[in-house]
Every structure is written in structure tokens, then in C-alpha cells.
């Protein structure tokens, strides 16, 4: 019989080190995974972590890292507030999709206007799309105490089918030879979110994300809102006594994370993706959950974790191309990261005792 005994005083150094230990453990376990697939594990790990940043073709990959990191960080920032308050939005992927679809639809309704207001309107519509999609689980939780984890997750699949319906129906490009795609936003200046400096990967979404990291940091550490979020997570009853309305908290946290996911979706569809397709969702909404926890739910940590996960995305492309490994293997690799993070966390806070009998 194995028992977990809480440690009286978990070491602060160990708490700070857990993300690094988790990354190392993932590298080791990932090495076994890749060697089981018949590849050289050291080479594979090097391709994932080293080549995108400092390798021979890094000049191309570095821009890609920012492109992938920006949505991860933006979504994870939104999620981190809810996670701190004990409100679990698992459906950021769906809110990301809805942000992209609603934002794109608002833009396409104005096609082919070249007004400077097109992009701002799309941005607002996309953000609202994500916000309202996240408010569905919030409403059900407040009204019927429905579990927001299940509702928000299930709404991802609804959103996915909504996207498929839109790109094969109302939003299909009339000049697109019946392909299930929307018009291209990259070729429509008023609605595009271009790379601002060639080769850098920086687009408007990247800049907004940087700003949001700072705003989130200030909110969390200096503002009463951040205090109430932490309070609601640590001692719900004290929060209620302090005047924090738990229902309002549910709506704010889910709404905020949905809005940021929707915004990330809009930047994605108008920028790196360029148009709506059925392959538009790349799993950012799910990976952002890993980013949020790997970053210890702290804005600066999320920034670093987002960059790291973006490296594994780009590195995943590298090993897919160079070692012809399946895409699923890199997804397993990313999943292991969260798994090891949680495992190391348990070992830092508890000690394992082996006991005979009951």
C-alpha cells in the first residue's frame, strides 16, 4: 500500500525548480519514446530543442517560434486567472475557433471594403465570439451548477463542427473552386494581419501579447482584482466574506479567458493561417493549458513556458520533416510535459510512504 504524506514545509527552491525538472524528465522519457520508434533519441531531442533556436536553419525557425508562442501565451494568460480562482476552462480551443470564425464572418460581410475600420471591427467581433462562447459554460454553471470542465470541453467539438459548416457553407470563398475555405485575408489589405518585419514572425498579435503579459502582471500583483482571484482560489469562504461574488467570478474568469482565446483566434486567421479552413485549429487552446501550468500561472512564467512550447511545436515540425516521425509523437511529447510537471509537483508537496496492510 502506497501512501502520500504531505510534507510540512515544501522546499521553495524545489517549487521553483519543478518546471525545469519536468522538462528534463520529458526529455528523458521522450528519448525512450523516439528510440522505441527506431530513431536516435539524442538527435531527436536536439532537433526539437536546439535546431529551432540555434541550429543551422534557425533564422527561419525563430520567426515561427514567435508566431506559435503568441497565441499560446495570449490564451494561457486568460486561462491562468480562472485556474488561480479554481474555475477550469478546458475549452479555450473552442473559443479560439469561434473567435476566428465570428471575426472572419464580420470581416467577410464587409468585403471588399478597404476601410481602415475593417480590421478593428473583425477584432472586436472575434473577441466577442470567444467571450460569448465561454459564457455558455459560465451561465450553465451559475444557473444549474453544471460542471464547467465538461461543458467547455464539449463546446470545443460543437465549435469545430460549426467551423466545418461555415467553411463549406456561408463563408466559402465564392471564387475558390468549391474548396472548403474562406477568402484569403492575407490578400485583402484592410483585413490582413501581416508580418510587420520580414522574417521576424512579429505580427500585431505578437505585440498585443507582449502588452498583455505586462497588463496581466500588474493586475495580478497590484490590483484588487488579482487579489480577489487569488483569494477565491485559496479560501473560497474568506473570499465570499470579503465581498467576492462567486458567480460573478465564474462569469469574469470564463469570459476573460474566452475573450483572449477569441482574440488569439482572430489574429491567427488574419495572419499566420491567412484564411479559415477545416485545419485552422492547431490545438493551441489545449496546449495553452500546459503553458499556463508550466508557467506556474504567473504571467512571466507563462511567457517563458509559451516560448518553450512554441519551440517544441517548431521542433516537432523539424523531426517530422527530417526523421519522418508521425505528428502524434510530438503531441505525446508535449503531453508528457504536463504529466511530468504534475508528477514532480506531487513529489515536491508529498512524500511517498510504503506501508504494509491497510
Amino acid at each position: 500500500m502506497i501512501r502520500l504524506e504531505p510534507r510540512t514545509e515544501p522546499s521553495r527552491a524545489m517549487i521553483a525548480l519543478t518546471p525545469i525538472l519536468a522538462v528534463l524528465a520529458t526529455m528523458i522519457a521522450g528519448g525512450f519514446l523516439f528510440s522505441a520508434l527506431g530513431k536516435n533519441p539524442i538527435e531527436a531531442i536536439r532537433m526539437i530543442f536546439w535546431d529551432p533556436v540555434l541550429g543551422e536553419h534557425a533564422f527561419y525557425y525563430r520567426g515561427q517560434i514567435l508566431v506559435k508562442a503568441a497565441p499560446l501565451i495570449m490564451i494561457a494568460l486568460g486561462l491562468s486567472f480562472g485556474f488561480r480562482a479554481g474555475i477550469w476552462n478546458i475549452g479555450a480551443e473552442g473559443q479560439f475557433i469561434m473567435g476566428g470564425v465570428i471575426g472572419a464572418a464580420a470581416g467577410l460581410a464587409l468585403y471588399p471594403s478597404e476601410s481602415i475600420f475593417v480590421f478593428p471591427i473583425m477584432l472586436i467581433a472575434g473577441t466577442l465570439g470567444g467571450l460569448l462562447w465561454a459564457l455558455i459554460p459560465a451561465y450553465l454553471k451559475i444557473k444549474f451548477n453544471a460542471n464547467e470542465i465538461l461543458v467547455s470541453l464539449m463546446l470545443v467539438y460543437v465549435a469545430f463542427n460549426f467551423l466545418a459548416g461555415m467553411v463549406t457553407g456561408p463563408l466559402r470563398d465564392p471564387d475558390g473552386f468549391n474548396f472548403p475555405e474562406s477568402r484569403s485575408f492575407q490578400q485583402w489589405d484592410a483585413a490582413s494581419n501581416p508580418e510587420l518585419i520580414a522574417g521576424s514572425g512579429i505580427h500585431w498579435g505578437v505585440l498585443v501579447t507582449m502588452g498583455l503579459v505586462i497588463v496581466a502582471y500588474i493586475l495580478l500583483t497590484r490590483h484588487i482584482f488579482g487579489f480577489h482571484i487569488r483569494l477565491a482560489g485559496q479560501s473560497p469562504r474568506a473570499a465570499k466574506f470579503g465581498g467576492v461574488n462567486p458567480n460573478k467570478m465564474v462569469a469574469i474568469c470564463l469570459g476573460l479567458s474566452g475573450a483572449l482565446a477569441g482574440m488569439a483566434g482572430l489574429y491567427e486567421v488574419t495572419g499566420p493561417a491567412g484564411k479559415l479552413t477545416t485545419t485552422f485549429p492547431l490545438g493551441y487552446g489545449f496546449t495553452a493549458i500546459i503553458v499556463a501550468f508550466l508557467g506556474r500561472l504567473h504571467p512571466i512564467g507563462i511567457l517563458l513556458a509559451g516560448l518553450l512550447l512554441a519551440v517544441t511545436y517548431v521542433g516537432g515540425d523539424v523531426i517530422q520533416a527530417n526523421l519522418s516521425l508521425p505528428k502524434a509523437s510530438i503531441q505525446v511529447f508535449q503531453g508528457m510535459l504536463l504529466f511530468f510537471l504534475l508528477a514532480v509537483d506531487v513529489l515536491v508537496h508529498f512524500r511517498i510512504r510504503f506501508k504494509r496492510g491497510l
Partner: protein
């Protein structure tokens, strides 16, 4: 007789070394010669237990005789619980030894202690509300007999010791006093030689206390020893033959409680002179807080719903609300703090209906509250004291602008609380849970009083708090009232209510009796009001 004399001499020497009056020592010496203490049941010799940063017990030695009711007295943090845990096998001493009936005694776990004949009734009951009495008792036994046999045993024991209880009743339906009986019966079924009781009367009505004492005396007459831990000095004086006083982990005295006054015992415990809180006589002023037919359905399946509660609290008045725990105290607190909303017209503050306002708008209007549970309700355990100040003071004290926290202002506010209420803490960045119960209580009460409330509602202001801190808190409440605020004190400690209240009322089964003057009422009369009539 030779033996007894030697022992008397040892005891007398010990007594001289302590703060007990030398004259009293001779009295106890005389008592001892006639007393039924034949030999030692348990002897503690030099027990020491250190935790990081604090020595909980420092060379504690005393002994408990066979058939003796021995009191263990001390403030919070004096080391009583550590000592008891060592006897009960929950904690291992660093050094020192114990002897039980002349044999070396070092229980490695509570089971070993129970097998030797040590049983304990904890202050907080460990009972499952959804199970019945017999099932609860069976759960705590090593080899429970069949249900029928066990029920029969429970009936026999309860009849023998006057502990009326029906083994088939659900624990969720029992009063606190009845639940305690279940715990006691659970112990008695093991046929203990030593029964340890930790603050047993804190949840009982005066009549229930009487019944308990009858049971304890009967046990004593059959040769069972009792180690009785309490801070209620009057009880100790009527019940116990000897008392050992702990302060700062050391034994500072052994005495005969019946020869002492409650005040002298308290001073021995605290190690300083005590002042009884006094209130300047003031005329009661304008009505401040008015409750009219307040009803509230409890959300807790085992909670108590409030029914038609009405009273008026005037400026300068301390209104005490007594009653046994679980009769709607928590619900009343939630309804007043704004955590539970009620009919708008049910509560009015200075003529304004506030029943539908949440905690923050109520605070802004001057209605402040301090709930009973310090950690987790009144304060967030893992947050610093400064952050805990923000919990109730951010809006009312304007500790920031547009939601941005003003670090300087909130630190100053926290320092003001710590200074005015003598909160002992290394600093304002320490977490709430690092403070002792008494200090945290001073902080929680101080946090509201410093904010100058119009009406202050406090639930169990001195629960589990040492005598010195309790006196300081009561004094602060009285001063607040003499400065023209209305103070509502909900408490289960009747002595406390008598000490501070102008008027008082009793909360029983969610209904509030008509408030009446606290002058000239006896504790017995209040006990009857508390619904103690179930006790024959």
C-alpha cells in the same frame, strides 16, 4: 502509610517551589492524607518535546493518581495539547519517560495507548452525521461486535452512567451534548483506566455540564482517573482535586483548585495580574440595526434555518446572543455579514434597508463583522497579514485608487491593527496561519474595530483564545460600544455574555428569544432558555 507520607513530602516540596501560596500547600498536604489517592496511575517524568523554533514541553513532570480528577490548565500554546498527544501516543517525546501503573509506558500510536487503558474525548468530535450512533461507535473499534450486541452494550453503559442516548438515532440529528455522549460512550466501552477530556464543556448548556459532571464523578468513584483540560476555571474548581498549570511548556505550579479563586488560577496561567473588562455606563442611544422577521433557509442539510428573527440594536448597546452551537449562529452571521442575502426589508441599518446588499456595500455603510472561524473564513490562511487587511478594509479604508492597491497605505493600516491590538507577529508579511489562535483573533477583531464600525457583529470573539487575549478583546468590544457603536456578540460562553452584554437573547433552533436585560439573570435561568429542558 510510609509511602504516602514520603509522597506528601515530595508533593509539599514541589508545591513550595511553585507559585502556590505556601499556606495552601499545607492544606493540600492535609487533604492528601485523607484523600482516596492510593497510588499513581500515570507518572510523567521530564517529558520534553521540541518543534522547530519552539519547545512545546520542557521537562514536564507530574503524576495522576488512581481515581483522581486531575486538571491540566494553561493558555493556548502553553503545551497542553502536545502533552496530551504524548500520553495518547500521537506524538513521541524527545526525552523523558512515562510510567503507567508502575510499568514503563511509551505508546507508539493511539491504538497502543488504548490497549493500555488510555481513552480520549477530543474537543472536536469525529463522528459521521449520516450514520447512526451504534455505527459510529463500531467504526472506532478494533473488533466491533455484532450490531445487536453492540446496541445492547451501548444501552447498558448509557444507563449505568446516566448518558441517555438511543443507539439507533442518526448522529446528524443529535445536539452537541448528545454527540459528546456518543464520544464518551465510545471511550467507556474500552473500559479505560485514564480518560482524557479536552475542553469537554465548550459546547454544552449549563444543565448538560451538570449531567456530565455527575457522569465523571461516578467514573471517578469506580476508580477511573480523568485528565481534564479546560480553560473554564469555575468548572475546574468544582470538579478537580488537583490541577497542574502549564505555561510556556513548563509546569509552573500544582495546586488544589478548590482552594483557589478563578482569578488566582487565571493569573497563575497567564503569569500576570488580570483586569476584568469594565464598561463605562452609557445611556443607550438611537436604534442602529433593526431586524424584522428575518428568515433564512439554511443551505447546509444539517444546518439550522432562521425563523422570524427580530431585534433592535441601539447605539452604545452590547447585545449578547447566546445558545448552543448549531442553533443558527452561523446562519445569523452570514445573513448579517451579507454573505447570504435576505429580504431587503428584513435588515435595516440606520433606517436604510440593506437585506439585499452584499458584504462590500454593507461595510461601506458601517456594518462590519468578524465570523467565528478564523482560518478560512475571517482570514485567508496562506496570505500575509497585509493581504488579509485588504480582505475587509480595501474599500472602506480606501487602501487604493481605481482598484490599484496602495501598498504603503495597506501596510500602515495593518501596522495600526498590530500595534493597537498588541498582535504578536514577527511582521506584516507573515501568513495568517503562522499566528497563534489568540493573536489571529486579535487581528481579526482589531481589523474591524480599527475601521470604526457603526455596528459590529462578532461570532465567538474569544473562542479558543487565552485569558489575556480574551480580556483584551472583551475590553475592546466594550470601548467600541461606549464610543457609540452598536455591538452584537454571538457566543456560547455564557460567562462572557454576562460580562459584556447590556441585553441578551437566546438563539434556539433558529428562533431568537425576546432580548432582555442581562442584569440580575442567573446562569441557570439562561440554561433553561437555551432549551436544556431535555436534561432530566
Amino acid at each position: 502509610m510510609q509511602n504516602a507520607t514520603t509522597k506528601s513530602l515530595i508533593l509539599a516540596t514541589k508545591l513550595f517551589a511553585t507559585e502556590c501560596e505556601p499556606a495552601l500547600a499545607w492544606v493540600s498536604l492535609l487533604n492528601l492524607n485523607e484523600s482516596p489517592i492510593l497510588s499513581n496511575l500515570l507518572r510523567l517524568n521530564g517529558l520534553t518535546k521540541a518543534y522547530p523554533g519552539v519547545i512545546a514541553n520542557n521537562a514536564v513532570s507530574f503524576d495522576i493518581g488512581v481515581g483522581e480528577i486531575h486538571a491540566l490548565l494553561g493558555e493556548n500554546g502553553a503545551g497542553k495539547s502536545t502533552l496530551v498527544k504524548m500520553i495518547y501516543g500521537l506524538v513521541k517525546p524527545d526525552s523523558g519517560e512515562m510510567e503507567f501503573l508502575g510499568q514503563s509506558f511509551a505508546p507508539s500510536e493511539p491504538r497502543a495507548a488504548r490497549q493500555s487503558g488510555v481513552a480520549m474525548v477530543f474537543q472536536h468530535f469525529s463522528l459521521f452525521e449520516a450514520l447512526n450512533v451504534a455505527e459510529n461507535i463500531a467504526l472506532g473499534m478494533e473488533n466491533p461486535p455484532r450490531a445487536k450486541v453492540l446496541s445492547q452494550q451501548i444501552r447498558e453503559v448509557s444507563a449505568k452512567y446516566g448518558l441517555t442516548i438511543d443507539p439507533d438515532r442518526l448522529v446528524g440529528d443529535l445536539s452537541a451534548g448528545e454527540r459528546q455522549r456518543v464520544e464518551i460512550i465510545r471511550c467507556l466501552l474500552q473500559d479505560p483506566k485514564l480518560l482524557i477530556m479536552d475542553e469537554p464543556t465548550s459546547v454544552l448548556t449549563p444543565q448538560e455540564v451538570e449531567t456530565l459532571f455527575v457522569t465523571l464523578r461516578k467514573l471517578q468513584s469506580e476508580g477511573t482517573s480523568i485528565l481534564y483540560i479546560s480553560h473554564k476555571l469555575d468548572e475546574i474548581r468544582t470538579l478537580c482535586e488537583r490541577a497542574t498549570v502549564l505555561r510556556g511548556g513548563k509546569v509552573v505550579g500544582t495546586c488544589t483548585p478548590s482552594q483557589e479563586t478563578a482569578k488566582s488560577l487565571a493569573e497563575m496561567m497567564v503569569g500576570a495580574k488580570l483586569q476584568t473588562p469594565k464598561k463605562a455606563a452609557t445611556e443607550l442611544g438611537q436604534p442602529l440595526l433593526k431586524l424584522e422577521n428575518l428568515s433564512l433557509q439554511s443551505k447546509d442539510p444539517f444546518g439550522t434555518s432562521l425563523r422570524d428573527i427580530s431585534f433592535i440594536l441601539r447605539a452604545g448597546e452590547v447585545l449578547g446572543i447566546g445558545g448552543v452551537a448549531g442553533n443558527g449562529q452561523d446562519e445569523l452571521m452570514l445573513a448579517l455579514s451579507g454573505e447570504e442575502l435576505v429580504d431587503a426589508n428584513a435588515i435595516s441599518l440606520k433606517g436604510e434597508f440593506i437585506g439585499q446588499l452584499g458584504p462590500t456595500p454593507r461595510r461601506l455603510r458601517g456594518l462590519l463583522a468578524a465570523p467565528e472561524e478564523r482560518l478560512g473564513h475571517a482570514a485567508a490562511p496562506d496570505m500575509s497579514l497585509t493581504e488579509n487587511s485588504l480582505l475587509t478594509a480595501f474599500y472602506r479604508q480606501r487602501l487604493g485608487r481605481r482598484g490599484f492597491v496602495n501598498k504603503q497605505a495597506s501596510e500602515n493600516f495593518t501596522k495600526a491593527i498590530i500595534q493597537q491590538f498588541d498582535v504578536r507577529t514577527p511582521g506584516i508579511t507573515n501568513t495568517a496561519k503562522s499566528l497563534s489562535g489568540g493573536n489571529l483573533q486579535k487581528f481579526v477583531v482589531g481589523r474591524e474595530i480599527v475601521q470604526n464600525p457603526t455596528v459590529f457583529v462578532v461570532n465567538q470573539p474569544t473562542w479558543g483564545v487565552d485569558a489575556a487575549a480574551a480580556a483584551a478583546i472583551r475590553q475592546a468590544l466594550l470601548e467600541l460600544a461606549s464610543n457609540g457603536a452598536g455591538v452584537l456578540v454571538i457566543s456560547q460562553d455564557l460567562d462572557e455574555l454576562m460580562e459584556v452584554s447590556d441585553n441578551f437573547a437566546i438563539l434556539a433552533e433558529g428562533r431568537l428569544s425576546k432580548p432582555q436585560s442581562a442584569k440580575g439573570v442567573t446562569i441557570e435561568e439562561i440554561g433553561l432558555m437555551m432549551g436544556g429542558s431535555e436534561i432530566a
